[in-house]
């Protein structure tokens, strides 16, 4: 049996209300708000956050860490990867310390890429030993033209699913997919922003018939009726369309249709069904059947059955907590700045490809050293101990990601699209100290003793590529 062992969610902290967008762009506003990545986030950083949450949720549910060495595949599904050429999965694999000989690949080009990733992962696991795992990560930070309808609808977020053959929250019972060449949304090589077809056309000739086709066929092949499904989880660019689809297929939108969160976080593209499914797993009862359908140049559907273990999700991250983390971004100008649409993208940052490559262990994996002679933990790494004078007597020491602020400041000198910049000294749980930027925080809330967590962020684009490192941010609660 193959299924889902854990899920991980990540929603950026900022929420932009559609009213603010409408006012700034002189367009008609719609309801709700959308999640907006901070200026230091992209699809890779949010994917890392969701993956780290997934690993942690697994440890909470099953009492053991999933071993990176047992991960046979890492699939990164996104239509907004920071790279047109270069693998994002490779960055995630490094940060997560996944087996270097595992399959690692990026999937893009369709909003159902995440479910395609699940299909690839399932196939991979069939051939693998029982303890093998595959991590499928979806993450989106799609760029919409200011004032367009996508400017209102698209939101940012990430979610990861850990697939396995044992320790399952839900099993994958069957799948069905339909491929079609349909111009609903696209972005050409030369396009900065997402483009989309005429609304009525894409709904009538694309979304509704294709999704109906794939869902009907999955039910038929599984010998099930609409009433057997307790949760219908479908991708939708807007809630109305999902309801229309559910009614058209004979489902009850009120009781069966899962929340797609469009009004809270926006249309998160390939991450949307992963987020909805994770939220649904958090509430599912053993034995429940869930139908998940993704969309994009056709459709892809999965039938999942919650196991007895699904109750273990009580200890895991909750969608509500992630939603609650949101804080308002009141300035549309700032939003444009965050997305490099307006303003200076960043200062001319110094970087060195050779140095970044040489120090990957330290910078991406947060591995410092501990002096064998005097026990002091050093980060950054060093060969000579300035405490006891030992030379080359260091052992690797992986830093913890939680800690408390020892001291801090809110700095108005450093150029940052979201000033002031908070800098803090953090004493880490397990030992060692981190000094760096604090992000996603209201400067007024920062104080000595505040609990924070290290999150993966982009510091700048020195040498013309994203330079990733860690910043502290408020802990994402699990209450």
């Amino acid at each position: 049996m193959i299924g889902i062992s854990a899920f991980g969610l990540y929603l950026p902290a900022y929420r932009l209300s559609r009213e603010v967008i409408a006012q700034a762009t002189g367009t008609r506003g719609s309801r709700g708000e959308k999640a907006v990545a901070n200026y230091d986030e992209d699809a890779v950083t949010m994917g890392v956050e969701a993956s780290l949450a997934c690993v942690e949720n697994y440890a909470r549910a099953w009492g053991v860490e999933p071993q990176g060495s047992r991960v046979e595949g890492l699939i990164f599904a996104s239509n907004s990867s920071p790279f047109r050429e270069k693998q994002s999965a490779g960055i995630l694999r490094t940060v997560l310390e996944v087996n270097p000989s595992a399959l690692a690949t990026d999937l893009q080009g369709s909003l159902r890429a995440g479910l395609t990733g699940v299909e690839i992962g399932t196939k991979l696991l069939k051939e693998s030993p029982s303890e093998a795992k595959v991590l499928v990560v979806t993450s989106e930070k799609r760029k919409a033209e200011p004032g367009s309808s996508e400017d209102q609808s698209l939101g940012d977020g990430a979610a990861a699913l850990l697939l396995g053959k044992e320790n399952l929250l839900a099993s994958i019972e069957s799948r069905f997919s339909v491929n079609a060449n349909f111009p609903h949304v696209w972005r050409r090589e030369e396009d900065e922003y997402v483009r989309s077809g005429d609304g009525r056309f894409v709904e009538t000739c694309g979304y509704l018939p294709l999704m109906s086709d794939v869902i009907r066929n999955l039910l038929k092949e599984s010998g099930l009726k609409q009433g057997d499904i307790s949760r219908l989880i479908v991708y939708t660019p807007e809630p109305r369309l999902a309801q229309q689809l559910a009614r058209r297929l004979g489902f009850n939108p009120e009781t069966q249709l899962a929340n797609t969160f469009n009004n809270q976080i926006g249309d998160t593209g390939s991450a949307q069904v992963f987020l909805s499914l994770s939220a649904a797993l958090g509430q599912a009862q053993p034995g429940e059947l869930m139908l998940v359908a993704g969309y994009g140049d056709g459709g892809e559907a999965l039938l999942l059955k919650a196991t007895e273990n699904v109750r273990k999700t009580e200890t895991c991250q909750k969608m509500e907590t992630c939603l609650k983390r949101g804080r308002p971004l009141t300035s549309y100008m700032k939003y444009l700045h965050f997305r490099d649409i307006l303003g200076e993208s960043s200062y001319d940052a110094f970087s060195s490809l050779a140095l970044l490559w040489r120090e990957e262990k330290q910078n991406l994996r947060l591995v410092g050293v501990k002096c064998r002679r005097c026990g002091v933990i050093h980060f950054p790494r060093r060969r000579a101990c300035d405490k006891c004078g030992a030379k080359d007597e260091m052992d690797d020491f992986k830093l913890g990601r939680r800690g408390r602020i020892y001291t801090y400041t809110n700095d108005y000198v450093y150029l940052n699209p979201d000033p002031p910049e908070t800098l803090a000294v953090i004493d880490l749980e397990g030992g060692g100290r981190f000094y760096g930027q604090v992000t996603d925080v209201n400067p007024k809330d920062v104080r000595i003793g505040l609990e924070v967590e290290l999150g993966f962020r982009k510091l700048h684009d020195g040498q013309g590529l994203p330079n990733y490192f860690w910043k502290a941010r408020p802990t994402i609660g699990r209450e």
Partner: protein, 393 residues
């Protein structure tokens, strides 16, 4: 004995430009003005100097090279030994130290130590820009000079239960001293309220808690004491030269308190030992200390032994370090009001202490000052220099 000066070393003359926004003068203009004044004060011909040490943290920012050549060119002082010294904010005092050691070695008996910095050729944020762009691309990125000292201030407040007021009083004091100094960059009185209402640079430090960003140069002519005696009876004796270089990674050190700086303590220990100073708070008559931010001056008091840990702020509250107090500090306005061209600051302090010991400090003259101290601190409390100067008798 190791750690002590074998020869008696003397300062024969000093020079210092006014500090400020010298948009009309380049790096070389400032160097020449300071050097000429020092030579005139020492009554020596520049051509008789045998070697020079030039301190400049980032000469390339002002279009110069990281070599001794810009000084040779500025002074027309060519084909002589010139060494560039760079040690962040301790550059000036380290330059002076190297010139003294060269004379002490016996190889030279008349040399120039000069510090020059053009901060304003690089824009208004050049100080902080330095920290934004230098060094490791990721580690500690975002650190600026104010952000580091602001973090010290927050921790100091937390540990010792004080607020911003004692810090603000440091600014008020140093601004007052600046009004008595025609060479100071900022020559205006400020009030406690002005500081408290001034905009943030890095919380809890405001613009008025911070040093001015200035251009300037300062110089000293160094010789042997036995030779100086023949030129002028009021030459100044070099009593102690301390330098302590630690790591800038202290910000990541789990044991680092952000409340005191080991390099200052170590450099002071060395200089006091050489000068035979046992109780600095009783023996030192005037001090020029590194007040890049107001909190720094308070921490300096403690690290230099003028006050016990956690009580430095009391010296300000009690007026001990004001002009007329028992131990006047930064009588010329300090970095705060005189300004802070990095490489020049240490030699500017030497200039002030020499003038005070020679009773030539005009309206800010301290009565009967016999032993003076200069202190500069570099980076995030990573390195420090302490120099003790005295009257010849």
């Amino acid at each position: 004995m190791a750690g002590l000066l074998k020869e008696q070393i003397a300062i024969l003359g000093v020079g210092c430009t006014s500090f400020g926004e010298h948009f009309t003068r380049g790096w070389g203009d400032l160097a020449l003005d300071a050097a000429v004044e020092a030579c005139e004060d020492a009554k020596v011909d520049m051509n008789d100097l045998q070697a020079a040490w030039v301190g400049s943290y980032r000469p390339w920012i002002a279009g110069e090279r990281n070599t001794g050549s810009p000084l040779a060119e500025a002074l027309g002082f060519v084909y002589k030994p010139i060494t560039l010294v760079s040690n962040i904010c301790a550059t000036g005092l380290d330059t002076f130290r190297n010139a003294c050691l060269a004379v002490a070695s016996g190889m030279y008996d008349l040399v120039l130590a000069i510090g020059v910095e053009k901060m304003r050729d690089a824009g208004p944020r050049s100080l902080s820009l330095a920290n934004r762009t230098d060094g490791h691309p990721l580690i500690g990125k975002g650190r600026t000079a104010p952000s580091f000292f602001a973090s010290c201030a927050h921790r100091y407040f937390h540990e010792y239960g004080i607020g911003r007021e004692p810090l603000a009083r440091v600014a008020v004091k140093n601004h007052h001293n600046g009004t008595l100094n025609p060479k100071a960059h900022l020559q205006r009185e400020i009030t406690l309220e002005d500081v408290m209402k001034s905009p943030w640079v890095a919380e809890p430090l405001s613009i008025l808690d911070s040093t001015a960003n200035s251009d300037g140069a300062a110089a000293a002519i160094v010789t042997r004491a036995d030779l100086a005696r023949n030129v002028r009876p009021d030459y100044i004796r070099v009593a102690g030269l301390g330098l302590s270089v630690g790591t800038e990674r202290n910000i990541f050190d789990p044991e680092f308190s952000f409340l005191s700086f080991k390099p200052t303590q170590e450099a002071a220990r060395m200089a006091y030992q050489q000068a035979g100073v046992k109780s600095p708070r009783l023996e030192i008559d005037i001090a020029e200390v590194h007040d890049c931010f107001t909190i720094t001056e308070i921490i300096d008091y403690e690290d230099l032994g003028f006050a016990d840990p956690g009580t430095g702020w009391r010296l300000i509250e009690e007026g001990t370090t004001a002009l007329g107090g028992k131990l006047p500090v930064n009588t010329d306005g300090g970095l705060k009001a005189f300004g802070h061209p990095l490489g020049a600051s240490g030699l500017r302090m030497v200039y002030e202490v020499v003038k005070q010991l020679q009773e030539k400090a005009g309206p800010r003259q301290v009565n009967n000052a016999r032993l003076g101290l200069c202190h500069t601190l570099g980076g995030p409390g990573a390195l420090a220099a302490v120099t003790v100067l005295g009257r010849p008798d």
